[in-house]
Symmetry: C2
Subunit: 292 residues, 2 copies
Amino acid sequence: MTATAAPFGPVPTPAPGRVLVDGARVATLSIADRGLHYGDGLFETIAIRDGLPCLWQAHLTRLRLGAGRLAIPMPDPDLLLAECLDLSRGIEAGVVKLILTRGRGGRGYRPPREPVPTRILALYPDPTPPPGTREGGVAVRWCRTTLGENPQLAGIKHLNRLEQVLARAEWDDDAQAEGLMRDCHGRVIAGTMTNLFVYTGGRLLTPRLDGCGVAGTVRALTMDLGPRLGIGVAEAELRPADLGAADGLFLTNAVIGVWPVRSLGDWGFDVGRLPQSLMAALGTAVHAPDIP
Amino acid sequence: MTATAAPFGPVPTPAPGRVLVDGARVATLSIADRGLHYGDGLFETIAIRDGLPCLWQAHLTRLRLGAGRLAIPMPDPDLLLAECLDLSRGIEAGVVKLILTRGRGGRGYRPPREPVPTRILALYPDPTPPPGTREGGVAVRWCRTTLGENPQLAGIKHLNRLEQVLARAEWDDDAQAEGLMRDCHGRVIAGTMTNLFVYTGGRLLTPRLDGCGVAGTVRALTMDLGPRLGIGVAEAELRPADLGAADGLFLTNAVIGVWPVRSLGDWGFDVGRLPQSLMAALGTAVHAPDIP
């Protein structure tokens, strides 16, 4: 069964029976949940290949970091894995979205003293990439919507995502695969759903994420794999002009893997100048199962 | 029936049967709702007195502003009022929280082309103010958590509230009624759940909210009532030192009404120096019904 086959069909929402809320096969949530009221929670978007979650350890590491930052009790990792495997059984290619909230609460921002987190896992179809993406690269645009700065929320994958929603609402043209976002100082931070790498002078630069942005699992993988293949990777403060002067750009996330960029607004890039060994290694590693 | 009486009791979550989701008396939400996934929505917190919503027009105005900003279709105001009245029937003093989300969606930030919004109304008990608040004022502290800047989200009451949650989690001492938050430039913006007014030189100043913060209904009421009682009100850029040098401070929101501040961190204030006529007029106007 592939992600686009039944029972998914063209339905964009999770298929009935492919959702677990606190381990139960229901598809509803209490309206008292703080995930709804405040976005008080975290999520992970996990690629599934042949019934197994990819980059599982990296997702778990980031979830744990976020849970620590927000003081949400971290669920038992074995339980999360068991539920993820349960949903993924028989799935050739798909996506499991895992949401962890602070659970139910009363009215008011004050968190409960002893929160009982809610965990939601839902299986979604694997998205179809724009045709020719892997070889030809994707077209990318600039977003006007900026990212607010907050060091306490930077890096983690929390549920406050209106900035990304507004940025993604800026275009409705399928020819544009992604949009790049800047912070309020004009620094380039990330795509709406991807991290950015800039290849320049034989090494890779990626935006520093200490004020905003999400530290992606494939971003971490790239920072680890690059040096092992002889390509230095550094975090940097990047301006639009730095991207225009680069030899190439690529975007990463756990579902799409790696997208070479063939254009950014009016600028064109030769995707053949990107480090091919690293691109190939990433393409493989991204969708490799990584479970205990 | 008062807000603290049955069926609320000590239960902090909405009472069963006192919740409407899209008009139905259920207390659950589809896990496909974008309110959960991204905080993709808005809310209003409405004081109820004698079965009627207070400041109804002001809440509706802000909800409409937010819906326009996020491009979420605004529900029929008559329907919202009917549902609010339905929940409030027989309630002497309570709170109705109204949540409006962009409705269900698939995975991914991109908003549906034709969203079908979800509306949730839930009745909560009226909170008990700290004793002696009205006369003696409240003790307030500084929060370390800052507010990120985003002009597109500033002023509206959207569901991305992790900054407020983190700020409110900074203290667990009931003697401190509220915490003040600054933006990343050190400007004072608001309390975690209140707007701030600074009385100085015979007039009122309130932080400008073009980069962050929520433009409260009672803030708008104060800016309207002040001049009518001979007290000028202006928006300003305020630093902590401006508060320390003020004759007095007060906090506002639609549920609590007005809280004079008797202390902010180590600084003490004489609440008797606040403009008493305005304070009294606000106290009355805040909880006056205002329905068509």
